[in-house]
Point group: C3
Amino acid sequence: MTDLEKSLFTKIDKIPIIDPHSHIDPHKPAARSLWDILSYPYYTSLSHSSGMDPDRIKYTVPDDARARAILQYMPGFASTAQFRWFADMLTDFFDLPADISADWNVDAIIDHCESRLQSADWSAHIKNVSNIKAVFTSHPLKDDLDGIDLNFYIPSLRVDDLVLSFESKEVRARLIETTDIQVTNANSLRLALHKVFDRLTRYNLAACTTSLPPDLSLSFASETKIDGLVAKATRGDFFTPEERNQMATFTLFELAQRCQEHQVPMHILFGVIRDVYDHGVINGTDLFDQRCSLVELHKLFNAFPNVKFPVSVISHAQNHELIAYAWIYHNVYAQGHWWYSNLPAFIFDDLCARMHSLPANKMIGYFSDAHSLEFVLPKFRMYKKELAKILAREYVTGLNWSEERAIELAYDILYNNVVELYGLRFEG
Amino acid sequence: MTDLEKSLFTKIDKIPIIDPHSHIDPHKPAARSLWDILSYPYYTSLSHSSGMDPDRIKYTVPDDARARAILQYMPGFASTAQFRWFADMLTDFFDLPADISADWNVDAIIDHCESRLQSADWSAHIKNVSNIKAVFTSHPLKDDLDGIDLNFYIPSLRVDDLVLSFESKEVRARLIETTDIQVTNANSLRLALHKVFDRLTRYNLAACTTSLPPDLSLSFASETKIDGLVAKATRGDFFTPEERNQMATFTLFELAQRCQEHQVPMHILFGVIRDVYDHGVINGTDLFDQRCSLVELHKLFNAFPNVKFPVSVISHAQNHELIAYAWIYHNVYAQGHWWYSNLPAFIFDDLCARMHSLPANKMIGYFSDAHSLEFVLPKFRMYKKELAKILAREYVTGLNWSEERAIELAYDILYNNVVELYGLRFEG
Amino acid sequence: MTDLEKSLFTKIDKIPIIDPHSHIDPHKPAARSLWDILSYPYYTSLSHSSGMDPDRIKYTVPDDARARAILQYMPGFASTAQFRWFADMLTDFFDLPADISADWNVDAIIDHCESRLQSADWSAHIKNVSNIKAVFTSHPLKDDLDGIDLNFYIPSLRVDDLVLSFESKEVRARLIETTDIQVTNANSLRLALHKVFDRLTRYNLAACTTSLPPDLSLSFASETKIDGLVAKATRGDFFTPEERNQMATFTLFELAQRCQEHQVPMHILFGVIRDVYDHGVINGTDLFDQRCSLVELHKLFNAFPNVKFPVSVISHAQNHELIAYAWIYHNVYAQGHWWYSNLPAFIFDDLCARMHSLPANKMIGYFSDAHSLEFVLPKFRMYKKELAKILAREYVTGLNWSEERAIELAYDILYNNVVELYGLRFEG
């Protein structure tokens, strides 16, 4: 990084983090063991990919042995961005030296870290070092949200299962249990979805979130047809592909209707194909098909002009479509850099193209997708470095912007736009 | 930009502009009001996207109020390349300070610019400052071309409607009116297309231009079948998708036949999907589907080996295909950076890959797609800056080329190749 | 290049070359005339593309006249990476000045080079200057491998024809001739494939290699159905598309089974469409369709968890998929930069993204695809320059790695991983 890039990064790094999508458990936000960190699918899948026997991390193995297995394989992917997140944690949270990766000592890391993780104020330590203002948390139907700090943890309703897996007995049972509504036809399903929304709005629901597969075809069916599909699923019969699309479309549009009523944005994570790899470790079996397009979603975006749709894409090749959609549609936003496209090389290219073409308020910079608080800072910093480079090269140097003006734009992309889009209100 | 990049840019900037595709009206080439400039769909769509109520620019609103609405929303997209074009106009044509975007005063801009635009020599002023040698203009059937300066305005025949919308009563009526031929079957359609071409060749027709949708499937039908389709359309019946493809294929190939006879290149703009967004402003409703391929067009390129096909693609992901096609096919050329891929980030990547792989004479550098003369200079300069960077980094620094040699290559890409491909002859 | 980039390149350039995919003929590894070099399809297709009459290189024309034709058109693509390979040969092997392209004298080049090529030790000269440790060679069924230096030439079995063209009488005849097995049903085909493998393992077979088209759909058929397809092909009848897929799937999976038994990796070159361009020069008619996905191959990767699959893709847009697959699948590797994606601009982007995300041992850096030894060095150097840039920017500067550590990573990517993946053992 040049001096200018470093100067901009330092200033951007001071922007408090609001993280608009994570899987952090508000009841256990930080890690309590190295395994809590190293079980992140990025590490289990990379260790497996580089040669680790997956039996070394199966459920019957004690957590400390599982952590040791991952640590042993980490030098094999020390050149990756994913490794960097952990190396940064070791430096920033555990006070280990910055060049730890050059002299990797598994025993020393374990000894040093496991005891630190037991400290009573670990979670506060992470929050403090990371300068996190708020994180969104993801909740399917039944999570207990009582007693959590709603000024810090901002709930989003995660609806993948409802949209995509109505055939699953478990999913239907959970819906009924949560809502106390017997779902027997289109209308009772609609009422149940109402109730799910109503319940969460008591906790300041900020988003309704769903991932969608690349082959989803939005297909509209009559109320009678949906009645029949609910009955069919209840009987335990499987849908045809067309019926599956009809059911998903019905639920997705009902949820979008609720989003409209409650003025809640619908965050779409687009393009993943689940369970492709038969021999993968847990959460290391999903991939994507680069032949995917947002074009099918125009029916959704057009049908709900008053719902805001932040969209994240899994495939780098789709970034250009996302740009065109967020440029033209008043209600589509480009949000963050998801999963397989969450690498510095792609972030730089994708973000630079977004900044060259999108109104500032249509960009929601970044989200962590973290499973525990430790990941928020290193992932945001990875993004902030690429942002600093772009601001330095394209704006301060390229267009003679002042550094102050560049930082204002960074502040919009990372902070103000999240507050505005999701209607956040902080107390105190 | 480094000193070398600046030096190369300064030299490239001196190359007179020949703009091989625009929508400039030769009878009213320059703007006469700010609204003439700000009604460019890039600005109306970005203003709408960033929050402007579209009613503020509807037809019943006076032009000055519409211009004001756009100007008020422009700071919201001041980080975009599209904004830069306007900011550069303010500096280069209106003599406002270069840092105007940092201190945006709508009233001051309106006061200053509207009066300047009334000056009698405004159009000559733009031409002079821009150093434009010639611009291509786009003409569907009926435009009046008498009395225009054919040494400056170079007509191309725009045939989207003929190829894609034969079902439209208006399109057929315009064809009949222009040609005085009653189109009742394949043969009379063929004769009408002959006459359209013949008419324009009197004005030194340089190109036949059509945009094509990504899902066009070239499908050949018998003369009898086409007779039936002409009759069907005349009765007011709609085609099946297959019939639509058959009709489009017939017309496209007939036009390619005329291109061959008249030695006129066929310029193809590939990949747009029209009218996707229901709530968009005018000309702000078209998008693309990144799942598109030039592979369908091999039937066209193979069938007419003596017709030259400059091709422009809307999707950044398709640039690699365009490269492979222009590399292998002797009659396919990579032309410019169209619409959604006309951003500095994409231009740099796409052009660099073209220069790494294509013969110099297969690259047609840039076209403006401008609606009025004011856009030609800032858009060409955006391109020329990226070209200068690539020449500096990859050729002068990377391969020890002299600056002179690099500028010769730029001259070929921007000027000589356009003259050669389109067979231009300038008088005087 | 910066000083750091140059320093790293110089060190990387010292790594002996192991080239894991080429078309070099071990019985005639180096060129004996300029035409042997200039007949490389990259040069014939670019010359044709830039305007050369293809008749100038047809078979009846003497080789020296054909070489002259190409040389005359080369200045037209002097800005390409493909030209650079030849310019580097002129400097590195023929001792012509480095700025030869600035003062291109066809007669002088011919006079100088043709005589040099007649020197008795030409091939040893190339090997020596190039520092090649070993090159893989590609063998369909019948090649004679006796007497070649198996410590330098490492055979791979090329199976495109067997997998994709069983309908071809010639292919079947060659299979029968090689194996002495009458192929009349699924089982005798299986036995013949066994024998093909067994024969080559005597020569230290290192890989089984096949290119696959983007539209291959893996489709499983019963033994009885395959019996019928073998009979159908033998009768001279053509397959339906579905039958073609079934036959290809059967053969591909049988070969993968042999790979598993013999612990031989299967190298897949994915995405080419053959014979698209009707008027192209030889080997200048193949293209690709960017709408292609590795997703179909998950059936293969899942079915053979003990077979290693290095995969190369033809389309830049597919690099992201390749990354995701090599990241998740323990048995998929990202190998090199194939054909249309083998350009510096794409190599930099594709390799940078791989290094940001893949375990070091999942990257097989580069292969030459060369037809004669002269191409190995300039193509590897093109790659090594991009690798040096990435190591300098992202690792030494970006992460404070020592140069030594960066070079170790380069050594793994270019050398150790090839040895390990393909199980190479060098004698002496």
